[in-house]
């Protein structure tokens, strides 16, 4: 068992209810239209979240760079070239997000293949 206060705790034991359907309103809804060209599908979301996407990428780079000084150029060059090999419609969708956020395409590729990179 983990030590208190980190131990398991089923809140049903206390009769606690944390569910409030109104809290779901904090997460906005968007439409992605698959009938539109891939380059147009993500522009709205990418534009609205440009600052947060920048923050995420910068945080990631900050975590990688101290131990690997060449990581930035590796990301931009290696993953940038990789986008040309990625199947459609993902290649165009990723390129359009890079364009809308003014972030190098390699960094958006890295973000989008996060799962494969970090699954060991």
């Amino acid at each position: 068992d983990l030590p208190a206060p980190y131990s398991d705790h089923c809140i049903l034991d206390d009769g606690t209810n944390l569910y409030d359907p109104k809290n779901a309103d904090a997460v906005p809804w968007y439409n992605v239209d698959l009938d539109k060209p891939p380059k147009e599908r993500w522009v709205q979301i990418a534009t609205d979240y440009k600052d947060h996407i920048h923050e995420l990428i910068e945080t990631l780079k900050g975590l990688i760079l101290p131990s690997h000084p060449d990581a930035l150029s590796l990301i931009d060059d290696f993953f940038g070239e990789m986008n040309l090999k990625i199947a459609q419609p993902y290649q165009d969708e990723i390129a359009s997000i890079a364009e809308a956020t003014d972030i190098p395409v390699g960094e958006i590729v890295m973000y989008n293949i996060f799962y494969e990179i970090f699954t060991v």
Binding site: D8, Y19, V32, L34, I45, T59, Y90, E93
Partner: protein, 256 residues
Amino acid sequence: CTSVIAVDDRGKVWHARNLDFGLFLGWDPKVHDWMISAVLRKMVVNINWYRDGKILYKSNNFAGFVGIYNGMKQGEFTVTANERFVEKDQGGRTGIMKWLSGEMADAKWMTWLTRETMENCNSYEEAKEHLSNTEMLSPVYYILSGTKPDQACIITRSWEKADSVTEITSRKDPWFILQTNYDPDVEPLYLDDRQTPGDNCMRKLGRRNVGFQGIYNVLSSRTNLNKLTTYTVLIQTDTGAFETHLQSCPGDCWPF
């Protein structure tokens, strides 16, 4: 991560998950939180995916991310994906190298395989077949449910195909599946056992109390809720109800 499928006492199927993301990606000692998890919480959006002027399916995503971890096709099926850890030479990075070398040129990236399943499959059985047998670049657990009480399974994936498909009907408690990041027949690492407390909490909930409120409370219980948890998504495939709730675990809370 923790994914849950539960069948209530009227036979209705409910599906939910906690997304835990950002392990070892920078601990912020000032606010006692993982850096990446904290940033991702601000980037969660729900998406209605349209085709031919109609909603084809729903998902939630991180802004700027085009793949899918969780998707629901109303009246048909819901899928969530949990990370699977395997031996070093069978993971995602090796998969990328094989893809780059052309050895696995046709293999699918995990979140894009999920998306293609949402876009091209029209039933639980079709989705199960596609998620089980399509070559992919990384291991994963796909947790899949339909709309009937026996339509729920864990698809344990490696590169080529499913290593196993575990049906809800084969479980000790055949009314729910709670899946974390371990193979169904493997005991979790004692430091990371979210399976035992999650199973116990589900049993306390009981079949008659299954619903958004009950499952949300199970997923808001430690240690299924931990410092890595960014959101809980609650899904009812028959009605199309799809709710994403941002989550965090402030204060004294297990880091993963």
